[in-house]
Amino acid sequence: MRANAAGVLTGEHYLDGDYACGEGAMAAGCRFVAGYPITPSTEVVERIAKRFPLMGGTFIQMEDELASMAAIIGASWTGTKSMTVTSGPGFSLMMENIGLAAMMETPCVVVNVQRGGPSTGLPTMVGQADMMQARWGSHGDYEIIALSPQSPQEAFDMTIDAFNLSELYRVPVMFMMDECVGHMTEKVVIPKPEDIEMVPRKLTDKPPAEFLPYVPDENLVPEFARAGDGYRFHTTGLTHDERGYPVMSVDCQRVSITRLVDKIRLNADKIVRFDEEQTDGADVVLVTYGITARVARRAIDLARRKGVKVGVIRLIVAWPFPEKRIRELAGKIKAFVVPEINYGQMVLEVERCAEGKASAILVPHMGGGVHNPMDIVNAIMEAAK
Amino acid sequence: MRGPIVKYWRKPLDLDRVNVPRGEVHIIVDRCKGCKFCVEYCPKDVLEMSDEFNIKGYHPPKVVKHGECVDCNLCEMVCPEFAIFSVAVTEVGAGGGAPAQGRASKEGTK
């Protein structure tokens, strides 16, 4: 279904990643945003605050990130697409309610414009060290989807993807930008509404007397009922059954957790997305994401000029991780090289999936800036030996 | 037959015009947890705790003053278990009509 015209600022623009993300949200049909200011993400909500009153959206600056996350879950239950925006410290605060969103199966988008951490860290400088937290941050077993854009244009496009994925799988989607992409200004082309695919909320057509809130369909995703439409459902963060009633039993826990996790795991093939380039016959494959993917381009060119056969896998959907492809490649190449602006996070996934058949070499950067391409080149040269 | 004999200290001037409501107490015995709120706060002292046990082992209340319930619903409001309520009994003419009864009922819940 096409996007609602009111939110789409069709045309060519010169925007930074944060603004582009805000535009993407509005184009995707988001009409409720609650946030708390935190550098470097604040521009997203500032943009939204300026445009929402003109298109029927509501933006409210809440008193903290916990409230922001709780508010967007509440808003999502009225059927409204909702989003919150934060960075590392706020992401940590939101974790409990991200778990609530996962448990209640509430579609929503959480934008994390990553900065140097841990704790207060480097508020205005880039990091990519929240990637594992996006996957494992809240307690308990659950799965989420995370995306990683590398440019303001992708910040626009992939925000729409994020909303669509959250609607399809009824899961909170983590939009893992980084400060570099967030604060980088580039040309962003926003297409016409009819060229934007928007997945609407999958509402049930059953009458209230027959409706149960957590009966899964063939994709393990239940249908949705809006608060205020007369369904009078109950939903809870406690382990619950298909009626939404809390049930404290081993069986209910098993059924519930299995479905919450399998909802993503078994559908991973449909969700996983990455850019792949020259991996056939490669000796070394780079696995990159976010701003590092762009820095790595320089390194790849240099390495190729030196005769190394280098392939690239650029993660677009970071979680679920493209396990299958990494496993396949591991048997055919010498090594994976994983540059990231952290001290080793996604490299652990690569290593796990490689199962020892290829080494996974980390090119770390503790944060505050982007890699020196020569570091990546040197790692590639080492790996190719 | 007239209603139950009521003694007034001073007879209200409109006694023959005012219909004192009559109510019928229904007790959902198996929901009761024996808290005694209804017994304590019934303004007409219609209830007392019985010696029987309900299915959970509590003593539910029972109606001891038949015909005295005035359908004020206080027991119904104060009961935390939703286990007791009163229903109006329709009168036939002022001050007349069948006397009210209390009835303990088991409404199908554990």
């Binding site: 409720f32 609650a34 009153p53 509501t58 669509n164 109950h234 809870t236 | 947890k33």
Partner: protein, 342 residues
């Protein structure tokens, strides 16, 4: 004082088992009867508060389809599970922002927060004061049993001085909140306190709260038998009810600064604040209309959800658009999954 409504309404729930033609408890159509009996202890006061609330909802004749309940964690937090309304049992301390999201995204809803003292003013304290400050249009019912009951009787922000709890086994030496004063000073426009014994006044207060707008706060002092009463050797909930009977005083309009509760001292009940002030949403609308005029598009009362192919015509936006005679950029026509959008 009006009676409970006779339940001639047909049950909305899965059909009840066949009963002989006996009258049902008036609360039956409004509770999830498949979950009754509830989990609260004998002589706990929460059931009473729920009964009064249901009565008030029915008497107020509000559209129950448009009424939503949010609860937090705790004994009172379980209320959402028993009411047959759109009910949300959120995380500890967060029902107020959850309710804020519900209300802001679908303004026609009547949103009530029903939770306990520890949940709303302990962990949820920050949200409480800000929602009151903003005059957010929600009704907050706080059942105050002076303790964290569900988790075994720990000290709460409302536990009176010298009272014992499991984390203050020698008695509380920490000053508690004076809740009506807290609510009033943060800007609540309706503040009342009752005990669960004051069933009729409480029901009336609920009715008033349901009808009013703005941040409405009703504190209900209720007995906690298994923890508060037991740990402080006060008997059980019945004894606490007797205590309320003997010592609670009704002082409508009293100064909330005097409304603090000391251990086993008098409890001042009443309606303390009843004002009409513009709510958060009122102020938002008014301000945007003034500043943006015709360009302002408010969120419609039925919510900002966008469904269906009939879209609104393009609205004027802040920036001029360039002619868009180009093919969509890479990745513009995006699909959520390769199986296609549903």
């Amino acid at each position: 004082m009006s009676k409970a409504v006779k339940q001639t309404a047909p049950p909305v729930a899965p059909p009840e088992p066949e009963l002989p033609a006996e009258p049902q408890h008036p609360v039956t159509p409004y509770l999830r009867m498949d979950r009754i009996p509830h989990i609260w202890c004998p002589t706990c006061g929460i059931g009473t508060v729920v009964r009064c609330f249901v009565d008030a909802l029915v008497q107020s004749k509000v559209d129950l389809d448009k009424t939503a309940i949010c609860s937090g964690i705790g004994c009172t937090g379980r209320v959402a599970g028993y009411l047959k309304l759109d009910a949300f049992h959120s995380t500890h301390g967060r029902p107020i922002p959850f309710a804020t999201g519900l209300k802001m995204a679908r303004p026609e809803l009547l949103v009530t927060v029903f939770s306990g003292d520890g949940d709303l003013v302990g962990i949820g304290g920050n949200h409480f004061i800000h929602a009151a400050r903003r005059n957010m249009d929600i009704l907050v019912v706080l059942v105050n049993n002076f303790i964290y009951g569900m988790t075994g009787g720990q000290n709460a922000p409302t536990t009176p001085l010298t009272a014992k709890s499991s984390t203050m086994p020698f008695g509380n030496y920490e000053r508690p909140f004076n809740l009506p004063h807290l609510a009033e000073s943060c800007g609540a426009t309706y503040v009342a306190r009752w005990t669960s014994l004051h069933v009729r006044r409480l029901t009336k207060s609920f009715r008033e709260g349901i009808k009013r707008k703005g941040f409405r706060f009703i504190e209900v002092v209720a007995p906690c038998s298994t923890l508060y009463a037991r740990l402080n050797k006060l008997g059980d909930g019945f004894n606490l009810m007797q205590f309320y009977h003997d010592t609670a005083v009704v002082m409508n309009g009293a100064d909330t600064r005097e409304a603090a509760i000391d251990f086993q001292q008098r409890i001042i009940c009443g309606k303390f604040v009843d004002e009409e002030r513009p709510t958060f949403i009122d102020m938002m609308h008014e301000h945007y209309e003034k500043v943006l005029g015709d360009r302002y598009v408010p969120t419609p009362p039925e919510g900002g959800m966008i469904q269906g192919l009939e879209d609104e015509p393009s609205r004027a936006t802040e920036q001029p658009k360039k002619a868009s005679k180009r093919k969509p950029s890479k990745g513009a026509a995006v699909k959520g999954g390769d199986d296609g959008a549903k």
